[in-house]
Structures are given as C-alpha cells and as structure tokens.
C-alpha cells in the first residue's frame, strides 16, 4: 500500500498519499486487490484494529518520549510505520499520528513543541517506532473507529494547514479512542497527566492556585495572540478569581493546545472542561477532592484582593504582605515546597500595585517573592523544554567558574552592590550556600528543590533566574519610588543592579568548592549546555523585560488615576 499510494516514492505521507493509503486499506479489507484502480470503487471505511498489549507497553514511556524523538525525520517514521502496513492489512496503524511528527515546522517555539510532542506522547507508538517497532493503533478497537477515521478526512479538510490538520486529526483520534466520541474538548488521561505535571512545575501544591501573572507568563509562551489567551482565560477561570485551580488550569491548557492545533475556541466552556467535571476526573486519583476544601480559604482572600485591586487602595494588602512575607521567607528556606497560596496573591498585588502604604522595605521584600514566582514559571517552562529534549544535564557551574575568570570578581561586585542595597531587606542566606547576597541565594535554594531531576546544586538556570530576579527587582524598587517621588534613591539602585544583571546571568551561582569537584568530568558538555541556557535566559529576560514594561505602564496609569482622585478631593473645599 505504501508503494501504491506513492509514499515510498515521495518519502513521506502527505495528505494525498495518506488518503490514497486509507482508501487502499479499505479496499484491502474489503477484499479488493491493492491497486490504484480499486480506490475508484465505493468502499466502506477502513477498519482499524489495535493490538492492546502493544499500547500498554508504550504507556510506560510517555514521559521520556515527550518531545524526545520529536526531531526524528518524518520519512523514517513513516517508513517504519508503514512497513507494517505491508505486512498486515488488517492491522493498520493509525497513520495520522505519524504525519504530524514531521509537520511541525522546523523551528517551532519550544513551548509549542511541548503540546505537539505531548500529542505524540499520545501517539506513543509514533515514538517507539524509532526502533521500527510495530506501530499499532493504541486505541481500543471498535467499529466506531471506522466512522471516526472517515471523519478524519472530513475534518482534515477543515483545518488550514497540514500540521494543524494532522494534529487535529490526531487529537480526534486520541479523544475518540478513549471516549468513543469525536469530542476534541475531552481531556484524555495522558493529557491530564501532562497538564498536572505542568501545573506542578508552576505550583507544587496541587490544591493551591496558580496566580494570574504566573499563568499569564506561562501561557504567553505558547505564542498565541493575547486576545485569544484572554478569551481562553475567560473560559477557563470559571470562578473569576484571577487564579487557576488545577482543573481550571487543565481546561486552560487544553484550550491552548486545541487552539494551537487549529481548533477554534468555543464561545462557552465545553462541558467536559468544566472544573467540576475535571475535578471529579482528575483529582480523585490524586487527592480525595480535597480541592474543594481548600477553595473557600484562598478564595475569599483572593477575591478580596481582586476587588481591592480594582476598586480600592489596598490598605489591607500591606498587613497581608507582612504575613505573607513570613511565609515567603520560610519558603525561601524550604524551597517553595510549602503551599504557595499566600505567595500567589503577592504577584497579583504587585501587578496592580494599589498598595499605597507600601513601605519600601515591605515592597522590596514582597518583590522578592514576585520575581521568584515569575522566574519559577519561566524556568519551569525551560525545565519542561529541557526535560523534553534530553535528560537533564549536570549544571555547568564548575564550567562557569573557570571559563570566566572574572566571574569571581563579579561575584564580589555583585555582593557589594546588593548588600549595600539590600542590607537588612533580605533574609540571611541559607547555610548550604555561600554567603552571596541572599537574593540570588534564596533563588538558588528554591531552584535546587524545584528541579527534582537536578540533584545538584544550583545550575545555570538558577543563575538565570537569579538574574531574572535582579531584573525584576530593578523595576519594582522604582515603583514605590515613583509614588513617593524618591526616584533619586531608586535610580541609584537600578544602575548598580543593572550592570550586575548581565553579569550574574553568566555567573555560577554556587560556592567554589562544589564546582571543583564536578568540574573535571563535565567541561565540554557543560559549555554547550551553558551556552544554550544562556540563550534561553536571554530570551526569558527579554520577555520579562517587556512584561515589566507593561506593568510599569499600568502602574503609571494607576498613579495618574490616584493623583486625579486626590485633586478631585482637594477642590471640594474650594467649591
């Protein structure tokens, strides 16, 4: 069949080849000879059968396979899979999952790769056939698959591009396989697991929320246009509290993935994406719907925060900040394993900065946590991407300390600067790390725990995150300054910090004696990973910068609003 439909000649299964192949399959199954002419007959839809045992075997590998074999050339994949078709007409692999693997553009955004590669994780077999393993339909076999496979052609025609089409086809397959329906809005098990992992990377406590800003950063990386992301948020944030619970997050993620695969966003949230529905499905395995118990507690606080954000100057936020700061500091030490519900509200507050009182100290401390969460999410994406690409590499720290001779000096400079600026603001450094400014250290310690696969001390990513944190810190200090018209003091700080930012991004964030141990064994690889991580860090920093600019704009607006309000209050006596 492969030969007949021309795939072997062309080297891949394009739409034409694919359709012909399907027709030929149907022909073969109906007993017609496998020839081009037979497709002219009126054929019933081809029936696809699956080998159940094969699917189970492959279930074990989705984690590694996510995006792992992503770059495998399409042709080899196709050929591998389709060699099977020659052998067994009756057991036809579902080819659509194969074709998407090639179709994603050569340079997809790394984030995009994840849902795509995730989708291939679904098309698990597609990944295994690296080894030319028999590629069987993973889905349970049913006659219903017949009509659904017929739908593939129809639905394929609807989407605009090949990648999208094949992906949507694949998605339909996946969904139909497990749900016996063509509902693209159902979240399958693998998808759910993936979403939950992503949620965990943003927020370790599955019972807590992902704050709006964290989620925004995360979903912005999907490179969907902002209005669409806004709409997705509207759909998925059912309780409209500005934060995403686990089911809300799954729904949002699912919508993002669907949109990237070419589906139009629905006007209302599909039933299968409702939090209640998703909760029943996805939380029971994890916890006994304890989510609802945690709802009332964070909800009112977040609600009040939202309203204070929009409506009043948040006098209550300041005392909350102090309480949260305590939690946040503990989190620093314990590496954010604690439920970050209190922390999650901090970024929201900072985003809108209606804090009038904002003593500089408190604000600065709070800012500490905001950047942590910000970098948390951005590094989580990096982590996910990196994880997807390859097993985590050892940190390039040792490399760094030697490749850049000046790093030690810069360390000292950084220390001086930040200590001068931050003396008294930051908690004492955790004992495990050298006496660098606690800013970067707390980041490091948190990153250590955050990345379970990296058992080593802080890595390049941490350096990046510490750099990011510096970037973020640069901006926030200037905010209260503007409010209090103390730009001079802040202005001094920012230039001090900014030169160090670029430096810290390349700095090893670890003490000297640790690097020495590992340095000898991993130099070359470490250099390359360091370079890559630097680039990623740059991209992240650029993004962060633009976001901060945006926030700056908003804060400006708020300030103007408050000033006009003030002026309006004043002339009352005059009138």
């Amino acid at each position: 069949i492969t030969e007949v439909c021309g795939a072997k000649r062309v080297g891949y299964f394009g739409p034409a080849q694919f359709y012909i192949a399907l027709k030929l399959i149907a022909a073969a199954q109906s007993g017609f000879p496998v020839r081009i002419e037979s497709i002219r007959n009126e054929l019933p839809l081809p029936r696809f059968m699956a080998l159940k045992n094969d699917t189970e075997v492959r279930y074990g590998t989705p984690a590694e396979s996510h995006g792992v074999k992503f770059q495998v050339p399409h042709a080899t994949l196709e050929k591998n899979s389709y060699k099977r078709t020659d052998e067994g007409d009756k057991q036809e692999p579902k080819s659509p999952p194969m074709s998407p693997i090639c179709s994603p553009p050569a340079s997809p955004s790394t984030y995009q790769r994840i849902p795509l590669s995730y989708g291939y994780g679904k098309a698990r077999s597609g990944l295994e056939q690296q080894h030319g393993a028999p590629y069987e339909v993973r889905h349970s076999t049913h006659q219903q698959d017949g009509p659904s496979s017929g739908n593939y052609g129809a639905k394929s025609a609807l989407t605009c591009s090949t990648p999208n089409r094949s992906l949507s086809v694949e998605r339909e397959q996946q969904d139909s396989s497990t749900q016996y329906s063509d509902d693209p809005w159902r979240i399958t098990e693998e998808q759910r697991d993936y979403y939950i992992n992503q949620f965990r990377s943003l927020q370790p406590d599955l019972n807590a929320f992902i704050s709006g800003s964290v989620a925004k950063n995360f979903f912005t990386k999907s490179k969907l246009p902002i209005p669409e992301l806004s709409h997705i948020w509207e759909l998925s944030d059912v309780d409209c509290d500005g934060a995403l619970t686990l089911p809300e997050f799954c729904a949002a993620f699912h919508l993002v993935v669907a949109r990237k695969n070419g589906y139009q966003l629905p006007e209302t949230l599909p039933e299968t994406l409702l939090p209640e529905y998703l909760q029943a499905a996805c939380l029971k395995p994890l916890h006994d719907c304890a989510l609802f118990d945690s709802y009332p507690e964070p909800l009112p606080s977040s609600q009040t925060r939202d309203f204070s954000r929009t409506e009043k100057s948040s006098a209550e936020e300041v005392p909350d900040n102090s309480a949260l700061l305590q939690d946040g500091k503990k989190d620093d030490k314990q590496a954010l394993k604690v439920s970050t519900t209190p922390l999650k509200t901090i970024p929201k507050e900072f985003q809108h900065l209606t804090v009038k009182a904002g003593k500089e100290k408190k604000n600065a401390m709070c800012y500490l946590h905001k950047p942590k969460l910000v970098s948390y999410s951005s590094t989580s994406i990096e982590d996910a991407m990196k994880k997807g690409e390859e097993p985590p590499t050892p940190p390039p720290r040792p490399q760094k300390s030697h490749s850049r001779a000046s790093s030690l000096d810069l360390n000292k400079i950084f220390q001086q600067n930040t200590q001068a600026v931050r003396s008294g603001w930051l908690p004492p450094p955790p004992p495990a790390l050298p006496p660098r400014p606690s800013v970067s250290q707390t980041e490091q310690s948190s990153e250590v725990e955050l990345r379970p696969q990296m058992n080593r001390p802080p890595s390049q990513a941490e350096e990046n995150s510490s750099a990011k944190k510096e970037v973020v810190l640069v901006q926030p200090p200037s905010k209260p300054a503007r409010r209090k018209l103390r730009t001079e003091a802040q202005g001094l700080e920012t230039p001090e910090l900014s030169p160090t930012i670029n430096v810290t991004s390349s700095l090893p964030a670890v003490k000297p004696h640790l690097p020495v141990q590992k340095q000898s064994s991993k130099q070359k690889r470490a250099i390359q990973t360091a370079i890559r991580k630097n680039k990623e860090a740059n991209a992240v920093l650029a993004r962060l910068n633009s976001e901060l600019q945006q926030q700056l704009k908003e804060v400006h607006k708020e300030r103007i609003a408050l000033e006009t309000q003030l002026e309006q209050l004043r002339p009352v006596t005059v009138l």
């Binding site: 209005p227 806004s230 409506e311």
Partner: protein, 138 residues
C-alpha cells in the same frame, strides 16, 4: 434604542455598545456630553465618596427623549447608559441592577491577567452579558 458605554478614568471609552446601530453617532455625542455632567457630580460628591453609585441624570435633552444614567466605580471607571424615554417601564431599580451587573462583569474582566487596564474591552463574555441586558431594555 439604547446604548451602554464604559469609560475609563481618563475619560476615553473602554467599551461602547448600541443596540440599534443606527443613530450611533448621536448616542456617542450624547454620551460625551454626559461625561461632563458625570465629572461634575463626582467632584461634587467629594465628601461622600463612599457612595459609589450615581443617580441617573435625568433628561439631558428633552427634545430627544433620552434618559442618560451614569454610574461610577471606586476606580473612577464610568458607566453610562442611554435609554429611550419612551421606554417608561424602566424603573430606577432596574437601572441600578443593570449597573451592578455591568460592574460585576467589569471586575471579572479585570481578573483576567491578559487584560490590561485601559485597553478596549473585547471580552466575549462581557459582550454577551451586555447584549442580553440591552435586549431586556428594548
């Protein structure tokens, strides 16, 4: 015929929706002039700033038979609603409830992290809510 507008504190429009789309220009003009009245009332209300809601302004143009209602939030976001005077069935309570609904929808929009305050509002949920509300009025 009626219209519903949302203005930000700087008095540029965040959202404008008219039910019958003809005569829209007249509505816009009406609304803009009413903004001045709104600002007047805000500054006059300076002492009792806690009372966030504003009473309807009454007939601005007796000839045109329009009633213009205003509403201001704590963050100085102004909602203006223009309704036909011929629609005498509309009572004050209904207007207030409509404003409350508008306000709630507006805060929901603010919860969306992808929404920047000061942007035009493109939220579909908001649109549907406003549409349904205005259908009731007309």
């Amino acid at each position: 015929p009626s219209q519903c507008d949302l203005f930000c504190p700087q008095n540029y429009p965040l959202y404008i929706r008219s039910v019958p789309t003809e005569n829209e220009l007249k509505f816009h003009y009406t609304v803009h002039t009413s903004l001045d009245v709104v600002d007047e009332k805000i500054s006059a209300m300076g002492k009792a700033l806690v009372d966030q809601r504003e009473l309807y302004l009454g007939l601005l143009y007796p000839t045109e038979d329009y009633k213009v209602y205003g509403y201001v939030t704590n963050s100085k976001v102004k909602f203006v609603m223009v309704v036909d005077s011929s629609n005498t069935a509309l009572r004050d309570n209904e207007i207030r409830s409509m404003f409350r609904k508008l306000h709630n929808s507006y805060t929901d929009i603010m919860c969306n992290p992808f929404y920047n305050p000061g942007d035009r509002i493109h939220s579909r949920a908001f649109d549907t809510m406003v549409n349904s509300m205005m259908m009731q009025v007309c």
